[in-house]
Symmetry: C2
Subunit: 195 residues, 2 copies
């Protein structure tokens, strides 16, 4: 239940986000959304065309939040290696998984181009930011000239997304952390002395 | 429907594997298993204690198959780098996702220690095999002595699992391939000339 001051359409979106997270698209019924948000059916159909429309608003918001968090870290201070390190080691609720990445395991979302679009766009945007940072690091001589920015960006993103899978499989964040440390050791700037 | 020559318990396990894949644990009802396998209710309860027992048999079999496939590639011919390359580039149905990794996104499986165990054990076994290969590569001077076998193994596995996420988000295997190529460029043996 949400604060009285939150608008009905806000409560509907937030309830849908929670339900998508907990039960997936198929398990998120209009009835459950109404119950959790405390909104009436007429009110829901006043604000949204139906469940797909509400799910799209919910997915867009989740994707925008993740994109903004990643962007803040990746455009922060420090060398290219520092910024990639900050992105890889930022605080995460590892065992819950990525709110955006997890949507790709929902068959109903992946099968629907409109629902999949915000997920794809957000991951793409993060990948482009990281690719540019790698290219910057190459110019500064931090990274080997043979590396391809777009490929390394995909590896960075995949290590994070796959780290969630390993953590959930083992019931511990340790595997996530190990994968990140491994990648950072491979990316370590050239000429850095090893202890 | 399965061949007449397949035993009833086989048909029950295979039907459960398919349903877990298509609908997840919650969406796999005993009724759906009976319908797909063509087995009778009495026969199901003769062979299995119920849905959790049948799901465990199905998950074990999927995990064993994946473990055996990975082991065959990782213990094949070639240098440590060659074997890791073979593992990363082996043919995969990328857009379907990993049959084992995907189970970690099923809340009912992750919450159940018994159902999660075969997933965890299989990923662990693959990780140990890769860790040993990295250590071998360090001894041979292929990989930098500063790398940690267990960490690199987690990175390799995470890149694969996360590659599926990126591929499913974009609706194309290209992002999976890019992540793998990025990791291979980072792992490239020292002293290899760049074109």
């Amino acid at each position: 239940m949400y604060s009285e001051r939150m608008s009905t359409s806000e409560r509907l979106i937030e309830s849908t986000r929670e339900l998508l997270w907990e039960r997936g698209y198929v398990g998120t019924s209009p009835k459950a959304i109404l119950e959790r948000s405390g909104a009436g059916q007429g009110s829901m159909y006043h604000h949204f065309k139906g469940k797909p429309d509400l799910a799209l608003a919910a997915i867009r918001r989740t994707a925008e939040e993740l994109g903004a968090t990643a962007e803040a870290v990746l455009t922060g201070p420090g060398t290219p290696y520092d910024r990639i390190t900050a992105y890889l080691t930022r605080e995460r609720d590892v065992l819950r998984g990525c709110p955006v990445g997890r949507l790709t395991m929902d068959p109903d979302i992946v099968a629907n181009d409109e629902l999949r679009a915000p997920v794809d766009e957000t991951l793409d945007r993060i990948r482009e930011l990281i690719a540019a940072i790698v290219e910057e690091g190459k110019e500064q001589g931090q990274f080997a000239p043979s590396l391809d920015g777009a490929e390394i960006a995909a590896t960075v993103l995949a290590t994070v997304q796959g780290g969630y899978v390993l953590a959930r499989a083992s019931g511990s964040p340790a595997a996530f952390d190990a994968g990140v440390r491994g990648l950072l050791s491979l990316l370590e700037p050239r000429g850095t002395p090893h202890p």
